[in-house]
Symmetry: D2
Subunit: 305 residues, 4 copies
């Protein structure tokens, strides 16, 4: 397995430089395009890695499945489906789907920014700070890594430049979908996106979804299996932005990418996978990362379809 990973990383190296790091904040634009790493956590307790698997980067949109999980744990699936919706909207990750002068849950889903901002108000906590703390705690628990932390510089940069997310939040407020102070709500969202992780962290988190809610090593149940099914299903239909259909056909596993260059992929019952390569395609997905997953899926028959 180790050899296979090394081979795939080598085979896919030429794709690293085809993409470009996200450029909307300097902290992401400075991402090293030569980084490429993979970490795999397997159901037999073993784990494997290759390349830059332990290099930290910000989680960005990959926090959305964790946010969704916490939202499910705090509210149950019915309320989540009711308030946020789960249909693919056919729109890029930060699109503003409002042309008819109204907004409803059918315009959202948990994997677009508007849905994620709404989820930030649905998780329990006295205030935005406590909400984020609980999200961070859950992330550490799933990653089996108590030292997972916020990247302060990225967080401040996101907070300073987040005009589109402010527009989205004020839209949600306009239509009565969120209450309270928009800046406070966004503070939780900006922090959530700025959590610093490695491929190993993502692989461990992914494994809890693959393992239907049980801890990778201790096998202790962290959340109900039903919530893993829920998250995995949403990831397949909208996890890879508007490249989700293509990814389902070519790779065939639940996955979520982030503009930090990470991809978290779930091979149900088998393994959790974390990948990192900051060169993105026009849809915001890591180019080399997708290539690595394509090859891994083919070699190990990972497609769930």
């Amino acid at each position: 397995m180790e050899a296979l990973l090394e081979k795939i990383i080598k085979d896919c190296a030429p794709y690293k430089t085809l993409g470009r790091p996200a450029s909307y904040i300097p902290e992401l634009a400075n991402g090293d395009i030569n980084d490429l790493g993979i970490y795999v956590t397997c159901s037999d307790g073993q784990s494997f890695m290759a390349g830059d698997a332990l290099k930290p980067f910000t989680i960005q949109s990959i926090v959305k499945p964790i946010l969704l999980l916490l939202c499910l744990m705090d509210n149950g699936p019915d309320l989540v489906r009711d308030k946020i919706g789960v249909e693919a909207t056919g729109k890029p990750f930060d699109a503003i789907n409002v042309t008819e002068g109204s907004l409803s849950s059918s315009h959202l889903n948990p994997m677009v920014n508007m849905g994620a901002i709404l989820m930030c108000t649905m998780i329990k906590g006295r205030d935005s700070g406590e909400r984020f703390s609980r999200l961070l705690e859950l992330t550490r628990l799933l990653a089996d890594n108590p030292s997972v932390e916020l990247d302060q510089k990225v967080y401040l940069s996101e907070k300073q430049t987040g005009s589109k997310n402010r527009a989205l939040a004020y839209l949600l407020k306009t239509y009565g979908m969120i209450d309270g102070d928009v800046e406070e709500i966004l503070d939780c969202y900006f922090k959530a996106c700025s959590i610093k992780v490695t491929c190993k962290d993502l692989a461990n988190i992914a494994f809890t979804f693959a393992n239907r809610g049980r801890h990778p090593l201790s096998d202790k149940r962290l959340f109900p299996a039903e919530y893993a099914h829920f998250v995995n299903a949403v990831l397949v239909t909208c996890g890879m932005y508007d490249g989700s259909g293509d990814f389902a056909v070519k790779v065939g596993v639940p996955a979520k990418s982030g503009v930090g260059g990470g991809i978290m992929a779930v091979s149900p019952t088998k393994m959790g996978i974390g990948i990192f390569s900051p060169g993105l395609d026009s849809k915001g997905n890591s180019i080399a990362g997708i290539k690595v997953l394509e090859q891994l899926s083919k070699e190990m028959y990972l497609s769930i379809f």
Copy 2:
């Protein structure tokens, strides 16, 4: 003429209660649905009124043509057409026309909120405060009424509840169409909408557009005739929200309505008209106000078409 106005006000009285005052802030919701007034300023120097013609209300969207005029005076027509566009967008006044992940001047026009917020950054002034002062001065000049003032309560209320305008402003910022602090920019916009006027003020302002830029009484030139043509043309194509086509067919004069219940109508070369009745239809136009204009247009052959 006085008799005609009295008769029309009486004939249209039953329409007053068919509409409802704007309800998004208490100050507007408390509008007295029984108010109905008209003021007409004529080219021969005479003026006539009937009903509640001297009762104050907030100008709301009727400030947009004045804002457009100031924008033209400060920047010239080419820059305005280039940055804001002048095409009808086929969308309600505060619609968010962004479905394709980008925003351009072709999504805007000077009569939708997004265009008006953009205009607030294009008028000259060291800061938002000075920009508003200049707009207020121009309004007083056109209205020939130095005592035109801000309605402080409405302004504060707009400022407190303006989530949709905040969303619109952050969208403009996202796509690089405005710079600087959004709250400061919006402060100018919220103040602009909260200017307190009467039918008489609106009639005088309208007359300067009817008279192609010359003062109603002194006949002194206040602005170039070309800018009056510009504003009047924009009013015909998009002044009455998405009822503009219907209004052009039935009434046939450049006009602008506001959710405060006012309508300002321009009968080129002949007269300026100010109307007030707070009961609105679903498109945001004063129901009785439109009826009054329909009848006046028919009786006095005002249609420009």
Copy 3:
């Protein structure tokens, strides 16, 4: 006046070759880009021309105001407004405004193809052939030219290649807005677009709208003044495709262009204007034609605003 027209034609000649003839059928693609003509019919009975004012071309979309007039004469304004709508849709002339799985009159207007196809079913006649005959008769009457005829080659070519119009017609049928055989209905529409006219014909037709329904020479009433107001109003808001706002600001008269290169412009109470130059801009309007109108409007103060 004759000298002015000659001068304008000469001044605007360089714009002729900036555009391109419509290319979707060979008959239009072969249009001679060097043609440029103007004909003006004045309220004092005089008429003037310059350039290729007597050269025939197909009327194309300029038939829409005539179709609308006949529709008004046959059904009255209320039914027309009800079934077709009169709001600018903010969409190009043949756009398909159906994204929500339904279609209503608010998606149409008399100047977009879908509205025009619907009007073809609303004019009186036992069958499509008789409907077209009545439209042709009206065109001859307004143009004061009994020899106005169909361009057989253009008609057959339109009929053969009209996939988009077929799509539009089947959409109308899907939503119950038209009944009967689509091909028969479209036959009337394709013929209507293929009527052969000259600048002189367009000027005379325009003059009946300028003259609020009375014949240019005999001054006999051909249709009620109210219908002229109706048509002129619709022309201002949507006559020049999605360049209507810009045209209103720059020229300021009701006008309709066609992809054959013609423009018909109405200067209320003053004159009817016909222009021809086949080089089109990206919106489908004659480039030199618009320039001619801009200059004429400026020199003769034609703007109605």
Copy 4:
């Protein structure tokens, strides 16, 4: 297993009458709302049924995965992905996604009507008749039932009333995505939708997808495993119209529904499932059918996520 199916059919019986049969043609409107059947073909060669499992109905949209398979067999996956696209469009099954005056593969996918009509031109055959014959042959082969036939009445009815499909086809032609005679192309599509099947047929067809291309009984390879992954992936993201996301969360298997009341569901490596109940919800999915699948998925842990 037999007992489980009987129990589920009984439990879900109350849902039968909550929906209504499709009403756009009389043949479907006459569907008996009391019908409810299920057939399951398992990997061990066994099969089970309950309720109206052998009652015939028309396949309608469930033919789309078979059409997609034939398209893949005839053209390979790259061409299919290139010409039709595989992204969920966020639109109902027959929506017309054209608002920008152009059409591309990103507006389509194999599970919406426009994509299916396009596929009808991509399968091999000298003419429309031969194309349909090959599709029917493949259907018989997958269903392991040589007597699968066309429902002549439904076919003629579809052909007579198919205005929306005609609009879609003419749009495809307008944008150069299909060539040739629209009626001939649609003839193949209308026939495809009118193939008569039973739950047993659907279960057998589904099993070939579950079994990654091998025949249910003989285990002979009918098509490459890769095509089964392709079809199953597309089914998960867009098989249940705009209820696909909800279905993925609640049931979690690739499935396709048709307005005839059928659902075909694929449990990879385990079983093929055919269900029939003509009462539909507002999205066009069989209400009782979905309930049956929910319960079956829960009881037998079928979710792939």
